[in-house]
Symmetry: C2
Subunit: 164 residues, 2 copies
DNA sequence: GACATATACTTGTTATAACAACTGTTGTTT
DNA sequence: AAACAACAGTTGTTATAACAAGTATATGTC
């Protein structure tokens, strides 16, 4: 029993921020897991669905969206956006082509199949998400959304002022 | 312009739950990214650090903790816990051995190096985490922690009643 | 208008996560 | 006590994420 293990001196009680980040990660994982389970019916992952939804909502003109913008909305790094979108091209959900005005840009847009797909999944997923938070009151959900949003746009990360 | 793309009919305005989950994932990613950056000084990832901290706090007797318990605390699946802990054995931060009473379980415990490591990183990481949420008031942080905790322990996932 | 710099994306490599299947041990039922 | 189920970990495979480096185009400057 003469272990040199004399600890508990430095690391104290759990602190607030620690719990917030742990819970945020856990809640996010839980939500992703549920969504992935449901979306697998259509052969989609949550990230793919979200990408489709971004294109659906942000590119309502059908002009195509640059990879960078998609990445910003999805909080996904650009290299991974490229491959994400490539996989979605293979599945026939989107098309991609270079912008004629700025040949550096590649614009992605939904195919009709992609549109149908995201429209099919929308309501079931919305209901699933609602169910996951059904034990919160509306006021709590509103407040949680506000606090999360405030929390994530930290001063050290000022490029967070989304439009409007 | 005769695209068949007549959308916007089905997918409406962003709804509350959607924003909550997106923000939770984003906040979690952001926190993990910051932590990983800082912890790389000691050659640790955030997950490894958290595993060390779990052992430090939950195994204060130094008897070793079963993989399953570690996995529960870290919200990590058991197969990944095995490999996570193996890597940490390779680094000399923990040791693992089979329980003599129940030969199915493998108990992991900190080495002195592991103890020093987690103690070294503790305060810097705590400060980094505090800084990330410094623009929230104490009341907001308390409320955010409460709401996140309530949100993640959903009825569909009742095995969430941590001890005390 | 050549040259450096910035931009938008792609490619390569390595690490980690997800999911299923498997091994060995313990508990239960009869 | 033999058979079966439950349990705790491990192993295998595939998909995805992280990080660094590379390519092609555009922009600014002298």
């Amino acid at each position: 029993m003469s272990k040199s293990q004399n600890r508990k001196a430095i690391i104290g009680k759990p602190y607030l921020e620690e719990g917030i980040f742990m819970s945020a990660v856990a809640l996010g994982d839980q939500a992703l897991s549920e969504s992935n389970k449901l979306l697998s019916i259509w052969g989609m992952t949550a990230l793919q669905y979200n990408a489709l939804k971004v294109l659906y909502v942000e590119d309502s003109q059908g002009e195509g969206l640059p990879s960078m913008e998609i990445g910003q909305r999805l909080y996904t790094r650009v290299p991974d956006v490229t491959r994400l979108l490539e996989r979605m091209v293979d599945k026939g959900w989107i098309t991609r082509e270079r912008d004629v005005e700025n040949k550096r840009v590649v614009r992605s847009k939904l195919t009709d199949i992609g549109i149908q797909l995201v429209e099919s999944a929308y309501l079931p997923l919305k209901e699933s998400e609602s169910k996951q938070l059904a034990h919160l009151t509306d006021a709590e959900k509103t407040e949680l959304a506000r606090l999360l949003n405030k929390a994530k746009s930290s001063p050290s990360n000022p490029a967070d002022n989304k439009d409007s």
